[in-house]
């Protein structure tokens, strides 16, 4: 035991004298000793800024300050930004501008902003970028944060309300009271004050902490794993190895369960989980990991998808003959007549494109907290997940606990982007350890462990061939893709299918061939990430289409318009396109960007490019085969008639779904948004919903909510009709009144009808559910890519490329979306902006790199670059008029679809600026310089002008 050192400091105006260990950080003092959990832990390395507090008026990363250094200091945390019960104008401005999504970085962001305005009360955008550049926001609410900080004074002395700001975005007018309006986010007040509780912020009496020991080898046999010495360490409560956990395989897709809670006899990547220790505190648990004796027998490993397929390559899963040659998934699709399609083409071009391994990198690390309830074998799990239902189901199956006995609660989630869509070893181990010890067990990954767990984007190598007629009409597309999947399947089967399924949704492709191989390698497993499987093939397609357009001298937007998907179309791979205003997005983008004045007319080094994308509005089928509603909701009217609670297990992960669902409920029932309580994501309180993935919440959960709300409305209209002496069908509910549609003056208050209904027949409860229509073709993998509706979008990007250094500065991004009716313009455009940033990171910066022994070389936010506020270009997000008949109030997807145009648009803009194509992601300065050196673009351009460019070029 180390002697404690006396530290005296003032936190939020209150003096504290505490004894601390010499290695205690200011962050831990604030969070663990003072219970001020608004200060977040994102990286513990001073890279993300989530733990920013003010120390003597200056912003510091509290993870990088020792508590003893803060002796005598004046500290302000988010909880102290404004006096109790009040909000600082900055906080109000953040709420009103929608300058947050998941909210995890928001406290740090606000404190950096506070320090700035104390020095510069009227900061310029550049000052804001500079002052807040060290605070990473993976949702990338940057444009809104800049605006919120810039205009903070407007909110000084102004009371906060939830109504849209005057002059706030308003895209479409559909005669609605709540839907279509930028009401403030439901969760914003909690997120700007540090009150939002994320899993790792939770404290339960008697809670202990656990950490996992992972493999240092990329491939090895475990000869012995002995936890005796770890168990003997003072403060250790329990230690488990594979022998102590169920010997059951789990995973995501039932067809390929290939993971174990703890590795049994073989580890398959650096980071594979081997043993777990629970202790009274985290430090002891970490110390105990070093006392576990594991004897490994290292084996040859394979780190490259192409290598993995070669005869004689080391096998990642040698125990299963199904995986000979390391092929985890093989997709073999033929639609139409590919040979005839290419024979009909006047011009064919084939190119190879290579993507990168990108990582979701949410600022909140995964965390899980489990507690056994000592009552009928029940367990509660709080977990940072986007798919609580799948977690519940997988725990039930793997640990043999009836699903109904598992209560899954999703607290606030600090970003997910696909990375929190599966059950983690944290979930399993926390539950097992909590059962073993009788105490609540909290587990969390640190930043390095996040990278090791991965489940990020698959790196794809894409051989793509497109044939077109002289006028640019596509006659055939052939795509062969090799996906590096890492050591386990995760979502990878679906990824491999998605990589092919979504290509024919944007343009009319009559003949299509796709062959995909998802390969096992001894690297961390890849999974689902925003745009799931599609961004890299889309990057390839959009690049190749531009190359072809250049070859046959058609304007890039024009060639897209000529091939653009049309509404009510069945694609060659049997996907049913319902509403579709893709062409309109292209035309609007062309006009709004000034395309015709700029394309081909910008000086060398400056360029403009177009890219397109689109995505599903929810998957047509669940991950496992089942005839179940995909979403369900319950709405209960409170007995005073002036509030309702909406119970739903759709997962708010920062995208704003709570807000959108409350709006849909309020609109349908005809009550104000402020009347709705969201009771979200607790499997005891809310009926089943598949969660937040595949952009499903607005359409699917929204439809369930709309049905539940309409049933409440029916009940109240029945009561009101008797009072008003009319048929229930003659009534309208709007703005908290129920009136005869034809005689608006004959009315009663909504609340009066509600109280009357309660007094007559008890609680007023409406239930709703949603299941998609039967979709898809009758062929293997025909369910992947199906959806009731598809989004479409076009992005035009302008870049400035330094031809000396290869550095790319993105000047402007203009996105035009067809997402049906926009429920909340503020959150909608926030999603588009966030998606654009993630796409910019992927195309220009991001790549998880491994060393020769399979170790990650950049498992931190210093070396793995994600966009910061300094990289924020000017972004315009526009919509076209669109209505999706299958969606609630006409709405469909946004947020995943909008990442898809980004990479192609940037690559095409870089080509416009430099004359070179970089076909490998990320498009780094080195790659641009290399391409410039190799290609001598000036000569090529000359050549292109002098020769007709028809024919085949490979």
């Amino acid at each position: 035991m180390t002697e404690e050192i006396r530290v005296s400091l003032t936190v939020n105006g209150r003096r504290h004298v505490l004894g601390v260990k010499p290695n205690t950080t200011l962050q831990n003092l604030i969070r663990s000793r003072l219970n001020l959990t608004g200060t977040k832990k994102g990286c513990e390395l001073g890279e993300c800024g989530a733990c920013t507090v003010l120390m003597n008026g200056r912003p510091v990363n509290s993870c990088m300050v020792l508590a003893v250094e803060a002796d005598g200091a004046e500290i302000v945390t988010i909880e102290g930004l404004a006096p109790d019960g009040d909000l600082h104008p900055l906080q109000k401005s953040f709420i009103k501008h929608g300058a947050l999504q998941c909210g995890f970085c928001t406290p740090g962001m606000l404190l950096s902003a506070k320090a700035l305005i104390d020095r510069h009360p009227d900061p310029t955008p550049d000052q804001i970028r500079s002052a807040l550049g060290g605070n990473l926001c993976r949702c990338a609410a940057y444009p809104r944060i800049i605006e919120a900080v810039r205009s903070w004074r407007e909110f000084d002395g102004v009371p906060l309300d939830t109504r849209p700001r005057i002059g706030a975005e308003r895209d479409q007018e559909r005669g609605t009271s709540v839907v279509g309006h930028s009401v403030t986010r439901y969760d914003a007040p909690d997120k700007v004050t540090g009150r939002a509780v994320y899993t790792a912020d939770m404290r339960l009496p008697g809670m202990i902490y656990a950490k996992i020991l992972t493999s240092p080898h990329p491939h090895a046999l475990i000869r012995r794993c002995d936890v005796t010495r770890a168990r003997a360490l003072s403060g250790v409560v329990a230690a488990l190895t594979a022998d102590d956990v169920p010997d059951v395989l789990y995973g995501v897709s039932p067809a390929r369960f290939d993971e174990r809670i703890l590795a049994k006899d073989r580890v398959r990547y650096v980071g594979d989980e081997v043993a777990v220790v629970a202790a009274l505190d985290e430090e002891t648990a970490e110390r105990a990991l070093r006392l576990i004796d594991v004897e490994y027998e290292p084996l040859p490993a394979v780190f490259d998808a192409e290598e993995a397929m070669r005869e004689g390559a080391p096998l990642v899963h040698p125990e299963d003959p199904k995986f000979a040659r390391n092929i985890n998934t093989h997709v073999d699709w033929h639609f139409g007549d590919i040979e005839r399609g290419f024979a009909e083409a006047d011009h064919i071009r084939q190119e190879r494109f290579t993507g990168s391994r990108t990582f979701q990198a949410p600022i909140e690390p995964h965390a899980a907290l489990a507690r056994w309830e000592h009552h009928g074998g029940k367990v509660t799990l709080w977990t940072s997940t986007q798919t609580p239902h799948y977690v519940q189901r997988m725990i039930s199956r793997t640990l043999g606990i009836p699903a109904g006995n598992i209560r899954v609660i999703k607290p606030a989630v600090g970003g997910a982007f696909g990375g929190k869509a599966e059950t983690t070893p944290l979930d399993f181990c926390a539950i097992l350890l909590a059962r073993r010890t009788g105490r609540p067990v909290l587990m969390k990954y640190d930043r390095r462990e996040m990278f090791q767990h991965h489940r990020g984007r698959h790196k794809q190598t894409i051989d793509l061939k497109i044939g077109v007629k002289r006028d640019g009409t596509i006659t055939a597309v052939e795509s062969r893709i090799l996906l590096d999947g890492g050591a386990y399947t995760s979502y990878g089967i679906i990824t491999a299918y998605y990589a092919g399924a979504m290509i024919p949704t944007l343009y009319k492709v009559p003949n299509y061939r796709y062959e995909g191989f998802r390969m096992y390698t001894n690297l961390p497993a890849c999974g689902a990430m925003r745009g799931h499987g599609v961004p890299q093939p889309r990057f390839a397609f959009e690049s190749l289409l531009d190359m072809i357009a250049e070859d046959i001298r058609i304007d890039p937007i024009e060639i897209r318009i000529r091939n653009a998907m049309e509404p009510n179309t069945r694609t060659c791979n049997a996907l049913d396109i319902s509403s579709c205003e893709f062409r309109a997005t292209l035309e609007k983008a062309r006009e709004a960007s000034g395309w015709n004045k700029k394309k081909g007319r910008l000086p060398r080094g400056r360029g403009i490019g177009v890219g397109c994308g689109g995505f599903v509005s929810g998957a047509g089928y669940p991950i496992y085969r089942a005839e179940i509603p995909h979403s369900s909701a319950t709405i209960r009217v409170h007995e005073d008639g002036r509030a309702v609670s909406l119970q739903i297990a759709a997962a708010e992960i920062g995208q704003g779904s709570d807000t959108v669902l409350c709006q849909i409920a309020a609109e349908e029932m005809g009550i104000p948004y402020e009347w709705v309580w969201m009771v979200e994501c607790d499997s005891v309180l809310a009926p089943m919903d598949l969660g937040s993935y595949a952009s499903r919440v607005t359409l699917m959960a929204g439809s369930a909510v709309q049905m539940a709300a309409s049933r409440v409305k029916e009940a109240l209209c029945g009561v009101a009709a008797r009072r008003l002496g009319c048929e229930p069908g003659a009534l309208t509910c709007r703005d908290a009144r129920i009136f005869i549609t034809e005689q608006p003056d004959v009315a009663m208050e909504w609340s009066e009808a509600a109280t009357l209904a309660f007094s007559q027949s008890g609680p007023v409860i409406g239930t709703g559910s949603y299941r998609p229509p039967v979709l898809g073709g009758d062929f293997k993998g025909g369910t992947v890519g199906t959806s009731p509706a598809f989004s479409f979008s076009t992005m035009v990007a302008e870049v400035d490329v330094d031809l000396e250094t290869g550095f790319v500065k993105v000047m402007r991004c203009l996105d035009v979306s067809d997402s049906g009716t926009v429920i909340n313009p503020m959150t909608f455009h926030g999603q588009v902006e966030g998606s654009i940033h993630m796409g910019l990171g992927e195309v220009l910066l991001e790549d998880v790199v491994h060393g020769p022994e399979g170790h990650i070389l950049n498992p931190n936010l210093h070396d793995y670059l994600v966009p910061s506020m300094r990289e924020t270009p000017e972004i315009s997000s526009l919509v076209v008029d669109s209505y999706e008949p299958r969606g609630p109030f006409g709405a469909k997807e946004v947020g995943e679809g909008s990442i898809l145009p980004v990479m192609g648009a940037i690559a095409n803009a870089i080509h416009d600026a430099t004359g070179v194509w970089v076909k490998e992601l990320p498009i780094t300065p080195e790659r641009i310089l290399r391409a410039l050196k190799e290609n001598r673009p000036a000569d090529d351009a000359e050549k292109a002008r002098s020769e007709p460019a028809m024919g085949v070029s490979e």
Binding site: T2, E3, E4, G19, P205, S234, V237, H374
Partner: protein, 158 residues
Amino acid sequence: METMTLMVNGRSHSVLADRETPLLWVLRETLGLTGTKYGCGQAQCGACTVLLDGEAVRSCVTAVGEAAGREVTTIEGLSADGLHAVQRAWIAEDVAQCGYCQPGQILTAAALLGTNPHPNDAEIDAAMTGVLCRCGTYGRIRRAIHRAAKEAGDAGRP
């Protein structure tokens, strides 16, 4: 303020506090052991009872300085798994109603059985009288203590 070494539930903690601070608040606020309850702050209700070297004391009137260097046992540390003989008996007899006084009751009962493995009703009443239960579970507490005594006796250990 001074740094003291506290041994709580088998684990030593270095704590910076005023010597006169009631042990209750150091347990609850500094160490986060909230199983020990505040009921009156005047040693009148017994909800804050903890064991000091095996003896039941009121932590609300025990200065932390007095506890330094001695063994403190709170409800969290009575057993590793929450199933000490007294706790098992408490569950079997369905003792708890609101539960607020129960940590104090259980620790007092454990202390009693530590010195007197087979107490009679009068001895139980004498030992337990200082721990108030407003729900009135006294009859069941008595039965539970007898049960725990019997179980421990059957198992051949005190």
